[in-house]
Symmetry: C3
Subunit: 199 residues, 3 copies
């Protein structure tokens, strides 16, 4: 088993956790959950079997990551992000709906791209893909797929701009490139943002 | 006492819990809380004295159910649903507001109907009634009573459609009945949805 | 050390906690966090080093209070309020963003005023000041500073009225003063609400 840290009050039932990852107080990682290397998983998190988390992910407190949710390397998951995996949930214990839970047809997968950031209390509907380096504002409700590098806010969320790989907002227009404080330069075309040169 | 399951890290101070109910890690059920049979209460929940939860309820993680909240049989409570019981809260420890907390006049009750579903991070304002089989979308803020079978989204929430008893969305109009995949058939009138025939 | 109460399942690493304060189950107060006297901190809270909480604050469950957040005396923090301290977050473990986290330039401070109330699931963006006695509705997303006594709702939040020091809504217009049930009387001018006489 890899060399990872588990706080004395956390419960970790998975052995698929990478080296250098730390799991903090009152968190619960179930059997079958996969977490990569060098991650930081905050207090009061719940990682379900079937959830897949990459390496170098920063996950703040109180996140619940369900079966069907995949998070790529380097993502930032703010406090209390709300993942979901069922678009039309019912209690499986409800007689009128129990037939819908006899197999996994109810499950819709979610994919969070490399280096993306999900702000505090963002809601990610089941079945969504968030592109790499996108930033979801705090409290946004994401009901459609999100383009790489897009900055999204609101309920339902709309795109209000673009962010750099480093996370800062770009002052960019269709007809004018933008250089970030970090040195990266980007251009904008119909198919989205593209990087022109690196620092 | 009924035969229910309590995870070794959970704290349960109530004896009013029905047979077959399971209460998971780091959850806290206070004295005076009532929970029915065959429920599943996820991790990190907090059920206050005065809260009443029916049978066969599926309650996902991190729910706080306050005094004054009543949840009927078969409801689905998604992760981190936000119940409230005070429309104009102040710290009772604030001198300027302490007089408002000398009795229970501040408390407004909430009622969640039979078989209803509350999506992740939905906010239910104090004093609300959610009708049976209604579905509240993830992140919706419910500020008015919700009709039976209604599908609600947004902040503030508005109705965008209707759902079947089994939870699936119905393709229904005032002038045309709808048959769900599960076999139930519904009609729509001014007073709301009504079931015409069962599967 | 002052005489404060810590539940047997809570973890408290700070000694800067005032007399009469109570910290409930599964909560975690880190070294360097400051909490005043006579506060009530609910279950599943996380108070980070650098967070400053005044006296007589009522903090409901599942709050995460980060470095850079200051809460004045007598505030009400509802369940799961979402504080943030970084407007453009990235994982500090992401190579492309690590340079932004070499110093504290990423941190924006938040200030919650005396006697203010933050409703359940309210989102407070980094860098915000909420005025004294303001009330933030449940689920509101606060993206701009909030005036004293203002009542805010929605995403993004807008002001829909004014509240008294005791928390109740005032029926007030520019040309007509209002007397609250508690006896306080207020007038409204361009610069905001002002109290004319006390009960």
């Amino acid at each position: 088993m890899a060399d990872f840290f588990v706080h004395s009050t956390a419960i970790v039932d998975s052995e698929q956790i990478g080296a250098g990852t730390r799991i903090w107080a009152f968190s619960h990682v179930l059997k079958g959950a996969v977490i990569g290397e060098q991650c930081n998983i905050g207090d009061h998190c719940f990682i379900e079997g079937g959830a897949i988390i990459g390496s170098r992910v920063t996950m703040k407190n109180s996140n619940m990551v369900w079966e069907g949710v995949t998070i790529a390397d380097g993502a930032f998951i703010g406090p209390h992000v709300f993942f979901t995996n069922d678009l039309y949930p019912r209690s499986p214990r409800l007689q009128e709906a129990a037939h819908r839970y006899e197999n996994h047809g109810w499950l819709s997968e979610t994919h969070i791209g490399y280096g993306a950031s999900l702000g505090a209390a963002a809601v990610i509907l089941a079945g969504i893909t968030v592109g790499e380096f996108a930033t979801i504002g705090a409290g946004a409700v994401i009901s459609k797929d999100v383009a790489a590098h897009a900055l999204m806010v609101g309920n339902p969320a709309r795109q209000i701009g673009w962010v750099c790989r480093c996370g800062l907002r770009l002052d960019i227009r269709q007809d004018q490139n933008a250089k970030c404080h970090c040195g990266d330069e980007y251009g904008l075309a119909e198919e989205g943002l593209h990087r022109i040169s690196a620092k």
